[in-house]
Symmetry: C2
Subunit: 644 residues, 2 copies
């Protein structure tokens, strides 16, 4: 879940080279001691990867590192030969990918040089993807892991293959209904080949699981579902080993081990147990540490590793360093839509005592902290339970409240897709706010890139889809959704602060189905929505203007509505509209324009599209926009080719 964008750490960064892992594997150590040392080294590399990438999940990588290390080094039998025993392991939560990558790299199962390429194009995606060697399945959206494992085991049984499947889950993840849904048939089919390990680090994205949506008596719940339940200290390798061995002896049912762990384990000030109880939010869930925090953490990890090496009598490890450029100065005129939204929501809440806000464990990312502080009695933390959240909002709306529902666009548009439709058939008014919309940030990977949300929601009758492009559009559009729209709305929000070229834009007027010229031109205009691609379009227009063009740029906030009168008006200035969809080619704004245009053809007005034609890449914003032809150069080239 939560995926704050951080800043890459500059200065000297430290990592453990491959040779040290080879040396460790050749030392005569007990399996437990070898694993302890291995995990100590892997923590240094995970920290390095995240610091270098500028984002990633430290807390969860560290809490799960000892478990992952034991699995990779000692427990798995990953035979590649057809017919041989083949054990599989994957993380259902997925955001602990840095730990997974480091342990695979340390175990020699993944190319070492990838350590330098976390969240980079052609490198290691922010969440696991099967196009990376050694990945078992794609994760990043929570709660799917056990279901997938069951499918793998069914296949093994049918094809008479020997193999066990180990799945790591988070504890916040257990709030997802699919987790419980998936337990039932595993017990009924006595899937003893399945071992689930819960990385029970007590924290989810925003804060303590117990504060968000307490799990209650977890052991009793799991036992009631017919599973064998073990429990251990998940940061004690010997205890993990013992719990797995005990589970291994159970052959009549699926097994789950609650591994009590510490989020951020290994770095004193990152360990959640070091959080003062007054501190509301854990800082090292996602994002990257500051330069100072990086250095202090790296030093602690190196000291610990050296101390352990001394204890084990194997000699200290050698480290390698790279010097990274300092982070760039912050952007000059950033558009921060989430902050603008945060303020606008509070203003609305002041005016309307029936407005309530619902959140699915993303209070930081969705800008809800000020709302929660000012209107605690009107804030509903639902946990990672989007279906439950959306149907709760339905019940609230039927009972006279005005619910505003928050999550990442990728999850909100898809997981409770049927629940949103069900609510829409009740003629109530609900506003759904999907943040982290679009192809950027591209670091978390495709599980988090919401690029089919317009398609999956736009057919719902009376559900208006709107997206502000600049900060000054946020409050008026929210006001329209809350107070003027005929039915419910989906407010799509780009989360990344976006440097935006200075423009002499038309004033923003809320007029359904009408666009806003950010830059006037003649002949050709880009049409898009959201700051990410409009900033590129403005830069592209600048490039083309330099070649003698006069290219317009239009922000179009209505994602499933076009007023034919607007076409009438705009056709006076332009003969070609290039719709730049921050979305897959099908089902985005271009389709709405096309449908409108064929119904009311405007002589001489042509439509072209730039959009995603494949699953989006993971990488930096620049890398990924370039790869998909959506950066300024790509957009300019598209116009040149259609004009030429």
């Amino acid at each position: 879940m939560g995926d704050q964008v951080g800043v890459a750490v500059g200065g000297t960064l430290y990592y453990v080279p491959l040779e040290e892992f080879k040396r460790l594997r050749s030392e005569k150590l007990s399996p437990v001691d070898q694993t302890r040392m291995f995990a100590a080294l892997c923590r240094i590399n995970a920290l390095y990867m995240i610091a270098r990438a500028g984002s990633g999940h430290i807390g969860s990588s560290f809490s799960s590192m000892d478990i992952m290390s034991w699995l990779q080094l000692q427990a798995l039998r990953p035979s590649e030969e057809e017919g041989g025993p083949r054990d599989l392991f994957f993380s259902s939560k997925g955001h602990d990918a840095p730990a997974l990558y480091c342990t695979l790299i340390g175990a020699g199962r993944l190319e070492f040089d990838l350590i330098h390429r976390l969240r980079r194009l052609g490198g290691l995606p922010g969440h696991p993807d099967i196009h990376t060697p050694a990945m078992v399945t794609n994760t990043g959206s929570l709660g799917m892991g056990i279901s997938k494992a069951k499918g793998m085991i069914f296949a093994n049984r049918l094809l008479k293959r020997d193999g066990r499947v180990f799945v790591l889950t988070g504890d916040g993840e257990l709030q997802e209904g699919q987790f419980w849904e998936s337990l039932i048939s595993a017990a009924n089919h006595r899937l003893h080949e399945l071992t689930v390990i819960i990385d029970h680090n007590k924290l989810q994205s925003d804060t303590l699981v117990s504060k968000v949506s307490d799990l209650g008596d977890l052991e009793a719940k799991l036992r009631a579902f017919g599973w064998h339940v073990g429990r251990c200290d998940g940061n004690d390798v010997a205890a993990v080993s013992a719990a797995l061995e005990a589970a291994g002896n159970v052959t009549d049912r699926p097994k789950v081990i609650i591994a009590d762990t510490i989020k951020g384990k290994g770095v004193s000030f990152m360990e959640h147990t070091s959080i003062d109880s007054d501190v509301e939010f854990y800082k090292f869930h996602s994002g990257a540490p500051s330069e100072d925090a990086y250095l202090r953490a790296a030093q602690e990890l190196i000291d610990s590793a050296n101390r352990l090496a001394g204890e084990l009598g194997i000699g200290a490890a050698a480290f390698e360093t790279v010097v990274r450029p300092k982070a760039a100065v912050s952007v000059s005129q950033p558009q921060r839509l989430v902050q603008a939204y945060s303020s606008a929501l509070i203003e609305q809440a002041r005016k309307n005592p029936r407005l309530v806000a619902l959140d699915a464990d993303l209070i930081l990312d969705t800008g809800l902290i000020p709302f929660k502080e000012q209107f605690p009695e009107r804030f509903v933390e639902c946990g990672i339970a989007e279906q439950d959240m959306v149907s709760q909002a339905g019940g609230m709306a039927l009972s006279g409240l005005l619910p505003v529902v928050h999550s990442f666009a990728c999850f909100l548009s898809a997981r409770p897709n049927e629940q949103i439709y069900n609510n829409a058939t009740e003629d109530t008014r609900i506003v759904y706010v999907g943040s982290l919309a679009g192809v950027i940030p591209a670091g978390p990977g495709h599980s988090h890139q919401a690029v089919r949300d317009i398609s999956s929601l736009s057919a719902i009758p009376d559900l208006a889809l709107v997206e502000p492009s600049l900060e000054d559009e946020v409050a008026p559009l929210l006001d329209w959704c809350l107070n003027q729209s005929a039915g419910s709305s989906y407010l799509r929000l780009v989360s990344v602060p976006t440097e935006f070229p200075a423009v002499n834009a038309e004033p923003f007027v809320v007029r359904p189905g009408w666009g806003r010229q950010l830059k006037t031109g003649r002949g050709v205009a880009f049409v898009s929505y959201g700051p990410t691609l409009l900033a590129e379009a403005i830069k592209a227009a600048g490039l083309l203007d330099g070649e003698g063009g006069n290219v317009g740029v239009i922000a179009f906030p209505w994602l499933n509505k076009v007023d034919p009168a607007w076409f009438e008006a705009i056709a006076k200035c332009y003969h070609t509209l290039v719709v730049v969809d921050n979305h897959y080619a099908i089902g985005g704004l271009h389709d709405r324009f096309a449908a409108s245009l064929v119904a009311n053809p405007k002589d001489g007005l042509r439509l072209r599209q730039v959009a995603l034609d494949r699953v989006p890449e993971c990488g930096t914003a620049g890398e990924v926009l370039d790869a998909h032809g959506m950066d300024a150069a790509g957009l300019a080239a598209a116009v040149r080719s259609l004009l030429g």
Copy 2:
């Protein structure tokens, strides 16, 4: 879930008039005795409604009747005054709507004459909808009820209103993850205002819950989630009353009562306990009884009611009768796509030992019974757990199997929407088969009318959406999905056998992005998919031809792909294509045509659309097609207006 289309029962039908309910309410009886008699009368009316409608859920209406009767007559305080105590009751499963309607009608809270209009336009929808008086919320898709109730209670607390919420659920429904997801915060927030009653009748759509996906130790599970758990005989009014009273005394947590009931309770041969253990399927889940079964059941219910009236000393009830026309003779040239699919799947399974079929408790409706019988080891019954099913299929595909996943289109395209996308990013091959697609049957209501599935799935890269229109297209299209498509596919299937006018169609050739002329013409052609609307289009073309037209009809099986070369070819015959979308206006085939045409304009080729512009009505096929302008007359009128 399951919603078999039956045939309206002809001959004499019996119902209890309003006066009898008034008389009963005025008799001096204990609350328990009054309720017993009330339920006995309501059963007669529920049977009448379903028999007259030709479809509806008898088994579940009968199992829940005693509970609903007690709630409506004795337990609820439905004060309408603002600020007064107001108790709410709704059924989360929703398909017991006939019981809900009968008890409301009997209690005088719903207009009596609606008893004659179940599943008719302007009457009582197949599943509850708030546009009917006294309905609390829209249900019909399972697992949302507790979430909605929580939202209502949150609103009550915030607005300082007094009120309790009672929710009835099914037991098969407990397989949905959202049910478990919704339990967590109810316990954490100590929602003592909430009482859930599980109609534990032991059967779900197809057969015993224990055979489909056993619930295990249900009491232990619910208790582990922190709820108060009661248990009673749900067909014993006194026991229901006692269990509710005991629950009412619990004020520190939400309450759930497991009401052990008998599916079909009240009619000996409909009671599930009368099923021989060798009988695989319960016959009275949905659909309608045969004329003979109706008469025997009505006689039994009337005898029981009279016997009870005698016991209670209140005199036998008077019944009214209506004589209904005998059912029409079966259709002449019906297109039965599900049967064709069933055979085609078996043929494919014979050729490919890695093909497996997954089902979500709709084995009857999706045509899987022959597959299960012939390939039991390759059949996976997942229960009502679509997210789990789809992710399991993902795991199977990653492990070398070829999974074919089945459910109703409305559920399959929406509830596991994100899971389908996640699978699609793994480059595996999975075929999703969504049956009950489109606006017909319209009896179950909008929860079951899949008319936005194309929109919600079509953007997924490499996911082909295809829909056969005639039986001869089913096997070739399934073959293409399983063996030739680049990625995964969604096969959209109309379930209702459709009388199809004789046509001289072109032979069917699988050619992605190309249509098939069913009737050649000149100038104007209808383009559609699936037998329902194509049959109407052919009839409309006949009407127009009679007025001097020469209207073509084209079946277009590719819902998210158009080959521009096909436009090139078809533009030689037609100047106007009228796309008839069995779908909402946005996101259907028309949008694909429009997007293709604006990219490659064909001079003189116009596009028009007939589609749903609002949530579809509930009613008979004829009523609903007429209401939406999609029957032959409506389609012909659309063409006349665009030509005129």
